[in-house]
Subunit: 547 residues, 2 copies
Amino acid sequence: MNHSPTIGEYLIQRLRHHGVGHVFGIPGDYVLGFYELLHQSDLTLINTSDEQGAGFAADAYARLRGLGVICITYCVGGLKVANPVAGAFAERSPVVVISGAPGIGERVKDPLLHHKVRNFDTQRKVFEQITVATTVLDNPDTAYQEIDRVLHAAFRHKRPVYIELPRDCVNLCGPAGYQPIEFKNVSNEDALREAVAEAAAMLNNAKRPVILADIELHRFNLQRAAMQFIEKTNIPFASTILGKSVLDELHPLYLGVYEGAMGRDDTRQIVEESDCLLLLGNIFTDINLGIFTAELNLDCVISATAERITIRRHHYEEVTFEDFLLGLLHADIRQRPFDPPIVHNHVAPFEPKPDAPVTIARLFQQIDDFLADDTLVISDVGDALFGAADLHIHKRTEFLGPAYYASMGFSVPAAVGAQLANPKRRPLVLVGDGAFQMTGIELSTALRYHLNPIVVLLNNRGYGTERHMQDGPYNDLQPWRYSKLPELLGGGKGWEVRTEGELAKALEEARENTSTFSLVEVHLAPLDRSPALDRLAKRIQKRLAGQ
Amino acid sequence: MNHSPTIGEYLIQRLRHHGVGHVFGIPGDYVLGFYELLHQSDLTLINTSDEQGAGFAADAYARLRGLGVICITYCVGGLKVANPVAGAFAERSPVVVISGAPGIGERVKDPLLHHKVRNFDTQRKVFEQITVATTVLDNPDTAYQEIDRVLHAAFRHKRPVYIELPRDCVNLCGPAGYQPIEFKNVSNEDALREAVAEAAAMLNNAKRPVILADIELHRFNLQRAAMQFIEKTNIPFASTILGKSVLDELHPLYLGVYEGAMGRDDTRQIVEESDCLLLLGNIFTDINLGIFTAELNLDCVISATAERITIRRHHYEEVTFEDFLLGLLHADIRQRPFDPPIVHNHVAPFEPKPDAPVTIARLFQQIDDFLADDTLVISDVGDALFGAADLHIHKRTEFLGPAYYASMGFSVPAAVGAQLANPKRRPLVLVGDGAFQMTGIELSTALRYHLNPIVVLLNNRGYGTERHMQDGPYNDLQPWRYSKLPELLGGGKGWEVRTEGELAKALEEARENTSTFSLVEVHLAPLDRSPALDRLAKRIQKRLAGQ
């Protein structure tokens, strides 16, 4: 018997086909029918406390698994994820937003159904601004094709897409005999050959070439190819803060994180003095460029991204990132002598001074010492992010942080998504008290689904980054007793520490506590800051003053 | 010396002029300069835990004070309030969104500044969908006028507006000698006379006229006029659930809340059998109309709203709501004999059965008995809202609930905004466990600013309304120990109750606890529900099944 799947079934099939195992969200009446379908499928539903948490969780899941899914109800659910979806857009994370909606049959005469804002297409219009493709699955004849088109856009651009599913269409069947469309991007062969030859010649002529690796290497699954190229040519490499950990940070040719004047001087010097800089998958954001303190000589730059290939000041539009990198890998580029750069790159064993109050600078050294091979570091915004730049991440792509969009509240829900995406990694969350007050309550979700992230809460009693730009009572916070959170949630473990000795003990106990989340509150002086934040704050302060 | 105010100063002056005393939000670097200006002004800044909380708080503030203000940073702050602002749009609450933004001088060459999504106008385009007016204050020559135009739109439509303030424009001065523009809506005199005469004739000819009062009476400050009209004519009146409490519910001519088949039968019968129904400020939403079970005979209907006046099936476009109602008040409409309707409307004294488990139906009777003259009831979505329909609210506009947009998580942050808007009222929050897990943490804000709401948390262990439509594990929640929340936040008082006796005791203790918030968790059976929810769930279940 030849029976087409329903629209809802087809959507679930395609998500499974693309490797999705979990869907994040909160149900509502307009999406209940599809929730029941999800529940009966082999996808696992993850309920967060608030929809915002589902948004950040799906973003982290997408960064690790290649696709993440949020499923929520119309407007009151959908508009709550506008911010996380915008962050996924900015930082190139392929998140699929599936929103329930009033049935087409209910929309006749434009009635004021609950959850409606202005018109029935208001939510879609909002998402048009923050996604690369949108669709409303209101026509069974085209619904399969629309699903394929929109999911393809998510893969092509590594950015969010929006699918609206009117509740009376979930169980309609599409056309019989439909074959899923597999899209493929191909390069113009001649343009590819020309671009690779030009880049190869520049690299071969260079005396001090350097590679700067960024997040698109990860998004387009080209980390292995990049590492092969590095090992074939022995060209040293750095990363940006957004791209931190895309390549192994314990590799002898690794130079550290480059962030212009914000970053380490030794790394900066080697990168900026290079006579041929190969940028792989870079996004030129302000923070990536050290608030525009980066000084790169365009005469020496080759930049390859998903959008285009640029050599010096000219562009190749019809060459894909993947084809270009594989082309370089197989081109005739000479191997240099293996000559590891003189960059202080090893992890010094950390000796806690038992009674010394914890300082930011020493905290990151202590954390660095604590990292294990299975640790996935997830930073929130502020010094949790800037200070993390110098951590030594052991494996590929084991650092996540909203280093461009910089939305506070990312890290705790992201830890939920990340650990479900890769259960072999244990998240270590670095989060300030300000960000924790926004979304830290999503540890409830970690508890419910038996996840065991370790959360290190940097409590400097306020919005610390802002204190250094301009201070006032608006940078203060209600002083929570964070370590009591497990009592509210009914599980998990909490610690409150002030000294290096207490922190060492808490971290070890947290490592042993594998069955639930661990929350380690670290008291810090309000005006303590990392050297990186010190430099950043001074830059931003100047801009604030209009200089 | 003749010195114009800066753009930032002018904006603050106009907000003060319109009665604003508080601004809700969280700072970020793009808005820090304006925050400092706010801090130095006589406006009071209220920091919430998350921006979402600021959104709901400002919405409630706007409903009580006539204007509410959210001030947040670019995108990572602004997009977090998309949902509360959409709710304010749907339910006609004049909220002003002020967003910091990158300076105009920083935007040259379209750099990737942090917090940017797609283009510099992405956030504005999103807010165009969910507000009635937007502006970017990037030109000192027009900035004053733009502020006046946009604030006027908020007043004219009682809906949100959006003001974006690039950080390098805050301290620029506008033109000297500018006079603020006071806009005024005027009716066409002839159309007004015709409409009032026609309505007066219908009312005079009617045997059983009824008034149905809704929220626009409150938004346009016409409650006193409506009550004068009722007392002049002795026409009985009902309200909708969205408009609940706009007129005194202890008045002898009050009929109760009309919600079609969802509401009480005695109220429904009188309303539907009326031969002349005067609708004052009604929004015809599905929930207001009892999920379209309302049966109103259009031959008998006069409907006056801010958009237009409709009599039977024809419309007057050039007549304002205010002029029409004042016209009726002064028209020659006969006074009927004072004949209070036979509707069971008094509050029965509640006698708790000490050991009886609390049920939803009895809970609302107990709450009704507990209401004081200074109580402001704030309902969240679900049975907290539906069950609240039959509470007897003592004063005008002392009930707030998202009865149309129905966004979960409204109530706790709304209590913060409401009590700051009117410190003479003490909020009583009715909230389910699902909604509380979304935004209940904003009790932190109540604590910080010394507010004392009483929160009654209806814990039925999940999304109770949905269980009755379609149940699955996706309607379950992590079982928090809600009464421990004060230990996390560092203040407030908590109770956990199961019986009517325990609830009575907790409510009395909460009443005495005037210095902090009180959180009373009430355990309920998961499938217990109010009669109103019973009827609603059955209607929605039918729609879900496509019937």
